[in-house]
Amino acid sequence: MPLLKARTDDAPGETGEVRFVTLDDWRNLRAATPASNRRLGLRLASDETLDVIGDEIVGDLDRFAAIALEFPRFTDGRAYTTARLLRERHGYRGEIRAVGEVLRDQLLFMSRCGFDAFELAEETDAESLDAALAEISVVYQPAVDERRPAHALRHHLPNERKARGEEDRSGRRSAVPAEDDGISTASPDPVAVAANWAY
């Protein structure tokens, strides 16, 4: 199944060597795994939501190069919350990967919630994915991504996150310039965004 990822400053392919473990595995491995091991990934089932298991893993997040969140059916939307909390509440900067029934038409929502890698159900090329992400350029609500909601742009409000010195929490260092105050929400340059995708 094709795995597409947003490019990061890490060497391409690095996170491709991640070994994923389930939460149960992790419980068994944790004590024995050296803190220097950064090649692990954590794979969470859709019912392993942060309100239930958050306390257990929050302290370990920097041990995982990637966290895979399952969509057993694409209609099971719990992982959108999990991804968002991992980014916004717990500052997780590694890869968040959508696995399971992952369809092109959910990419925009997933990306806005902090997913930056997608194990797609079927063959899709980078252009289709860029197109999927560019389909809707206006957003009404703040989320993980850097896009500012319409109401902030309407009134040229200062970027609160920037003012607080918060970095891009989507984990994705993209070629798309972060929104500046008052500048319109033009769709990201397709060439720049395409360059972000790596297999």
Binding site: D51, G77, L103, H151
Partner: protein, 551 residues
Amino acid sequence: MYRYDEFDRTLVAERVAQFRGQVRRRLDGALSEDEFKPLRLMNGLYLQLHTYMLRVAIPYGTLSSRQLRRLAEIARRFDKGYGHFTTRQNIQFNWTRLEDVPDILEALAEVEMHAIQTSGNCIRNVTADPLAGVAGDELTDARVYAEIIRQWSTLHPEFSFLPRKFKIAVSAAATDRAALRVHDIGLRLHRDAGGGLGFEVMVGGGQGRTPVLAKTIRDFLPERDLLSYLEAILRVYNQLGRRDNIYKARIKILVNEIGAAAFAALVEAEWARIKDDVLRLPDEELRRIRAYFAPPPYETLADDDPDPARAARAAPGFADWLRGNVEHHRQPGYAIVTASLKPIGGVPGDATAAQMEGVAEIADHFGFGEVRVTYKQNLVLPDIRKSDLHAVWRALDDLGLATANAGLVTDIIACPGLDYCNLANARSIPIAQRLGERFADLDRQHDLGPITLNISGCINACGHHHVANIGILGVDKKGVEFYQITLGGAADGAGAIGAIVGRAFAEHEVVDAVAAILDVYLSERRPGERFVETYRRVGLAPFKEKLYAPA
């Protein structure tokens, strides 16, 4: 009313293009029906009994005359010349074609309308008091907040795949005309002791298989905290709502299972972590939206009501209509007019293209170009000068929209039922028609006083039968249509779920059964007592006795 700016227009236009692409990919085979279905549902497109049905959003039930004309045009061009207004203040077109829907959406986008999230497991059309802005008992215009919620909930990335559908209603009036207690979230604006504006937050109301009234989880939520609090509720629901059984997936089940107090605690805990963050609505945006709901340029007029006696002499029908369909307006000299979509023998909530255009014309000529859609499936002309009432009545009468039964027993709420709907077990429209015919006499209707009579064609309760004074539920008994009657429901105030009166009635028995129920009311009532008050006092027993007494 709210007008789109470039951001709103862009979003809706992009959404149309997105759906056009999705339809193409469906027809090309890139998307299976399983993959396409949630996408078309999130654009309001159902596969119904006869064909595709498109549900168009009418945010908090407010329409401009231009929008109403466009709906008429769509009915003519793409459908069979009529539309159906629903209990969620939306409009449904019953006879659409998949291949036409992108063009329909484009036609809607041109007049600042859409069908976004009118179905699917996401936040649906936010409904509000249909008399917002004009009612005398209102604190402030509830639609300001409905619009704020509408924008926040549109294409919300975290909450587009909820366990189940999610319905929010807003009211700012003493009388609840928005059925807050049977919504997933009901919001009642009021002032605290210090005079600050805020919301009573009710959660977990709903009908269907398991009707339940919403519980108040917070008495007062300051205005500014509205969106962050809603986000907290939705986040708790998204994580904890059941995913294994669609019949147990609504938030009402969750609130019931863990208890309102426990649910409130979870919400408050989540809210505490996000309340001072980016969802605090900026004052500038609140002011911007509020400005759209400023009162229209009312004239300063004497507040003289038309003399009913003179009216009766001018035309008997006019006096009846004044009595029934005209309500007090907060602005002196003006009135609120109900254009009834419940003609005797007609289909509740349906309007032809000609009728829609006629109402738009009246709104332009006699009002400020605005029309409302009510929870009871009627249309309202919210700003009519009292001196124009006779002319407006004549115009509505010409259109067949002057049936003087607003709030009376023949002002029936009915779902489309088995005549149109894939989910239905029985027909509801013919029952509504025959009930209308039996109780048509206006003097009798006024004697019976305000009564809500609602009909649902199946347990999903889209006709809101659970919260009607007299509720009728269509059921299927071995392939034959039967009707179960409930009594004592109420959609306003504290709300009430109706009680089943006894075994179901055959189709040919229903009208007589309702007549018997009304006879019991007339014989039991004390002076001035409305139907529901008599019921609360005497209970089910007298009704059961009359209905099921051995012959």
